[in-house]
């Protein structure tokens, strides 16, 4: 099968790869680029374990061809940590016990990040709806909701709320 050359900015770094047009973005990230934090939990775009940010929007990377990301910016869980310091979303999941087996966690955090970037002060209801494309089998969601609200509080500028 013929291959195409694409360049995708992944976590701020331009990555040039040659691949078959049918290769899913999730597979490129995992197999091609070794970014195995993005997971695959289904084959029907239901579970959201593969969620990454494409140009700032939460996208299920199992339902996007890697060639479609040519020239676009992709952020994955591996890009959340800056200079070994955890992003508040990661910190929130840790503090509020928002993960158990950890398999949904990367996708869940990327969806949460997309939410917080467009809505810095979500209500619990808004968090639940924003995460409704992400399935979790371990947590029963409650601590995930708390984790996202924790991160929202931490991300707000000082004096407008802060950490509980």
């Amino acid at each position: 099968m013929f291959k195409r050359q694409v360049t995708i900015t992944v976590n701020g770094e331009a990555r040039a790869v040659e691949l078959e047009p049918r290769v899913l973005l999730a597979h490129l990230l995992r197999e091609g680029l070794g970014l195995t934090g993005t997971h695959i939990g289904c084959d029907t775009t239901s579970c959201g374990a593969c969620t990454v940010l494409v140009d700032g929007s939460a996208v299920k990377s199992c339902t996007m061809l890697a060639v479609q990301a040519d020239g676009h910016e992709v952020r994955t869980v591996e890009g959340l940590t800056r200079a070994s310091e955890l992003h508040p979303v990661q910190e929130g999941f840790q503090e509020e016990h928002g993960l158990q087996c950890g398999f949904c966690t990367p996708g869940m955090m990327m969806s949460a990040l997309a939410l917080l970037e467009r809505n810095p002060e979500p209500t619990e209801e808004e968090v639940r709806w924003a995460l409704s494309g992400n399935l979790c089998r371990c947590t029963g969601y409650q601590n995930i909701v708390k984790a996202v609200l924790w991160a929202a509080a931490k991300l707000r500028p000082a004096g407008t709320g802060g950490v509980r």
């Binding site: 970014l35 939990g41 999941f93």
Partner: protein
Amino acid sequence: MTRKEDARFVRGRGTYVDDVRLPGTLHAAVLRSPLAHARITAIDTRAAEAHPKVRVVITGAVLADRGLAWMPTLSGDVQAVLATDKVRFQGQEVAFVIADDPYSARDALALVDVDYDPLPPVVDARTALDPDAPVIRDDREGRRDNHIFDWEAGDAAATDRVFAGAAVVVAQDVLYPRVHPAPLETCAVIADHDVVTGKLTVWATTQAPHAHRTLLATITGIPEHRIRVVSPDVGGGFGNKVPIYPAYVCAVAGSMLTGRPVKWTEDRSENLMATTFARDYHMHGEIASTVDGKILALRVRVLADHGAFNGTAQPSKYPAGFFHIVTGSYDLEAAHCSVTGVYTNKAPGGVAYACSFRVAEASFLVERLVDLLALELDVDPAELRMRNLLRPEQFPYTCSTGWEYDSGDYPRALALLLETAGYRELRAEQARRRELGEHLGIGLSFFTEAVGAGPRKHMDIVGLGMADGAELRVHPTGKAVLRISVQSQGQGHETTFAQIVAHELGIGPDDVDVVHGDTDATPFGLGTYGSRSTPVSGAAASMAARKVRERARIVASAMLEVSPDDLEWSPGRWSVRGDPTAGKSITEIAAAAHSDLDLPDGVEGQLDASCVYNPPNLTFPFGAYLCVVEVDPGTGQVVVRRFVAVDDCGVRINPSIVEGQVHGGLADGIGVALMELIAFDPDGNHLGGSFMDYLLPTAVDCPSWELAETVTPSPHHPLGAKGIGECATVGSPAAVVNAVMDALRPFGVRHADMPLTPAAVWRAIQGRPLRGDLAID
């Protein structure tokens, strides 16, 4: 404290099987049967083998040449690895294609040509024993029916006598439909056979790596010391990852044939169609009581649908698991239950999805029956339970079917639930809203679990006694490594087992690392399922640490030149009785134990210890749950408004982790009760084979859980701790269903089977209950 595991998981740095990269790895895909029941007349693999990226195509015939076409199951049956004679369920493994990359392996599946001669399938378990039913397992010589086993517990004659004299008897057919544990990570394997050393390394999603090593040795003939099974991070198990699946064996065969590592990762549809299902119990329950509501006896008959191969994972003497805990939390005069297992043209399984070996089915049934009895007697269901619950002074309590419950204070837990939920106010609200034509339902469930299998005299899996090991090494600087035989799939063992050792030795949990999942590095044990980690391996960890503490006492006595009897323990330190300043910390003692210090005769150096813990009994955690639902009778839509859960698992090692376990199980309960189902059509087609149909609750479907606790320690466990992991999955579906039935009371609905989808609820209101499991109207 935050979990030790989280640091890697929140960074995307966990290592799950599909993340493992070995040089030269080949990739496999499984060709599956499109039919539920058919004879295979020919398999032509030539076109697939001609594919430029395909290395090998393995069929049943290839395996048969090596004696690998069939494998033993965890129930003493055999299962086809790749179908040779015929296929027995839709999705069954027929061929295994190994290629250079996963896309090519999938491509080549379409090039394998299989000729099938269709046979009539057995779909409805209730017809499996009909004299003219097609015989599914004609591979077994002399087999002329689909009967697997009959099993019973309790005293049938005594139970019949009580029923004959009882003033009130309520009976109900209850189907606990087939569901699936659906861990978010599917099953996967990498087999790497080293032709030079003969060593086989298998990375696999397994909850029981040691048992898998033994089974792989049995199946493949490779000596067990040359097999290493590694279960790395596991993306949820929920019982789905206890059995060995055919593709694991195929990957081993593939690696032996190609001399290279072979990786296989199933997709979601494969996971739902072919790996272990849960439940599928057709139950007929009867409950007897006096007119004033004293529950006297239970009588239960079960027809168990086990699919085409009996692959149920449970202790070998218990073909229906621990179903006989169906007497629940009540003091009965007599009880009897019988279970008949049958083959059908469906995937194997049965015990999975946090069922604690069929406690899920038992608990659901008894809690439905108690509610139906309350309806019959027109007594409040909370009041009826309170009157009949076992009293704390009755423990240890031997129930009518033989279990000895270790401890419990049930009335206290129920009272706490009713108070926490505001039960009286809820009933008042319900009455008010009924007058307005609104349908609020309140459902209760009180359950007793049986977890921590188990005493090896009674419990084994394929001959392996269910004891578990722990090995503790204390390094010269006082830092420790604990090696355990159980395998976390998210339950937080790396954190809680460190806490156990830290608690026993008086050091910090950060000073203890926990190793699990690698059979070359860890002591033998049966793995994690049935909420057995804390009861069995947790006890082993505790006992190993206590051995270290005693060794440390002797070393300290040599250091301080006093008799060991003159030393007393305070956390982290042995000191001279009456002179606390004269003492040695564990860190100092560890250094001395590794040094040139003269030790008394017979005392080895170092501070390492191990323990194999053979539990004297199971642990019996319990809980009281309440669910509030609103039902729209026009659409059948059920919304869960509140869920209040009181759990008692004895001493809580890590309260935050316990709560997380309960949250997850409560979400399972909502899923199972309201939306999850694997159904079949009359041709045996699997309906519900993807997340398009097999519905799981999202964040929007779940309420904010309201938790409370009581603490009734297990008297026989070193820490007083009981298992908790499966409690909420076991206990919650009955609360949800009881709530929906309560809401539907004005419509005269007595019972409807799960899942209570809008269609099922709507049909129940119309007086036309749905058998959704068969997709036959």
